[in-house]
Amino acid sequence: MSEVLRAEQLCRYYSVPQGFTKPKAVVRALNGVSFNLQAGQTLAIVGESGCGKSTLARALTLIETPSAGELWIDGKPIDFTHKPSAELRRTIQIVFQNPYGSLNPRQTIQQMLDEPLLLNTTMSKSERRQAVATMLERVGLRPEYAERYPHMFSGGQRQRIAIARALMLKPQIVVLDEPVSALDLSVRAQILNLLTELQQELGLAYVFISHDLSVVERIADQVLVMYFGRVVEYAPKTTIFARPQHPYTQALFSATPQARVGEKRERIHLQGEPPSPLKPPSGCAFNPRCRFTQTICKDELPELRNLEGSQVACHLAPIG
């Protein structure tokens, strides 16, 4: 297996205005995230709203430049001081969080899928037309849909179109930002199956952002749990589901309702809510909500360290 994506200490900061009188504040949306991903594998990113998942997705797909850190795509280090080459952009593609907003309403499906080929390849018109037809069929849409506009499609169909568009340039890596969250249950299963089939067929690597743990458990190989811009736990799927080590991961897993009657799990109650990005807690960002907090948690930032096959950023782990 070959490594197709590697991130080292990726950071992305935003400065946000706070009214006229106060100086701008800095939001550390992404604060030192590292991982690597092999061809044909799926890395799931989970975490609460605002923890930096979409920010990570934009940094990985070269839409935004990281404030610090390094990135390797297909073994090559990325030089952020230069515009990424077309070749590089082809390698990694994104499917955006919102299937309704991400498709241009004034383009037909044909135009939408043709555009990346037109801009990035030397294919002839008839070759491109053929490629679009093949791709539509591949994602389960009828070829005659090519002349229609996005508003004529259901949510699930639009998500298929978004996936088709991401695949037109035969990428090695696809970043999927909440690809099934907005979809109904039965449609969700169809899209998950499509992603599984495409991965097997094309050897794609996925970065799969989701807050739905039942979906993650099904499709991930590795799981990376983020809290407040940082990685709190990073482990193979089977390891983390068998034994979540970080107190936040434990709470998150226990809070997810199960569609089974009579198997109610012991639930870990979290106090409070995620911290404000403008007022980061000192030490471990999870300490105001954690049930194990000690003095050290408020004073020192816990580093990621190896623990029984997982990487965990908690002073007190193993715990719970």
Partner: protein, 324 residues
Amino acid sequence: MSLLSVRNLSVAFPTQNGWFQAVEGINLTVNPNEILAIVGESGSGKSVAMLALMNLLPPQARITCDELVLDGKNLLQLTATERRRLNGGTVAMIFQEPMTSLNPCFTVGYQIDEAVKTHVGGGRKERKEQVLSLLESVGIPDPARRYDAYPHQMSGGMSQRAMIAMALAGQPKLLIADEPTTALDVTVQAQILELLLKLQQQFQMGLILITHDMGVVAETAQQVVVQYAGQQVEKNSAYELFNHPHHPYTAALLSALPERALPTGLLPTIPGLVPGQHNRPQGCLFAPRCAYQQARCQTEVPALAQQQQGWIRCFYPLETETML
């Protein structure tokens, strides 16, 4: 006696091409202190049915109903004004978006106080105490300070709590919660659900919980209604429904859940799409997508009938034994 009894409720909306049947022949019974969940995919008529109960639909909606009794009162005989007076009192509703119920221009305390004034009454000081205790019972820390906060100054979870406090202000006997936690994070969702259940117990309310999250249903509801394209297709106890779904749609929906499917291989799916206004099938609405359909399903409309342990709208319901 049941707290709420609805028989044959239907709602249609006028469109350019005739009437669109959003809700068709709904029956509901909710007992005091009972939690009933309504599940179904987007557009299956869950919200419209509840808004019809609350008389909150736009005037062009065509609503028909054979029986609508709430807390012993026949709502069909009341005037619009009389019915509006029940809203917030006998029955209250909370929505997915707190901002649909909270007014951004007024403080949270003021708005809850208005609700107390309308439905319970009392002097200014008494009411203030009541509002503070409501804020406290929904788990808002430091209620005295939050009393003067505006909705936008609170997080999503906190404004959801404030909205619940407002719904409880009139001491409702029936609470309708329409996707109360969908917009929230998993850990905050767990807090809010826990809170709703605690309050439901404490005030002995009937609770109708609308959600598309099967996990939430399994963990909270006693009774479950499954809706498909505006119709109820199955009604059963949560235990029976999750362990022995009888309607093919319920069974298909449950088996498409990643957590219930076999760990490897593809997920079972339901082919096709929910019918729209123009391709509503003649017979069973689920027939074009159903794995068990027979000739009869194409032409005849199955009724919601008591079969086996529950109510099922299907000519060929799945037997318990044939289920995996």
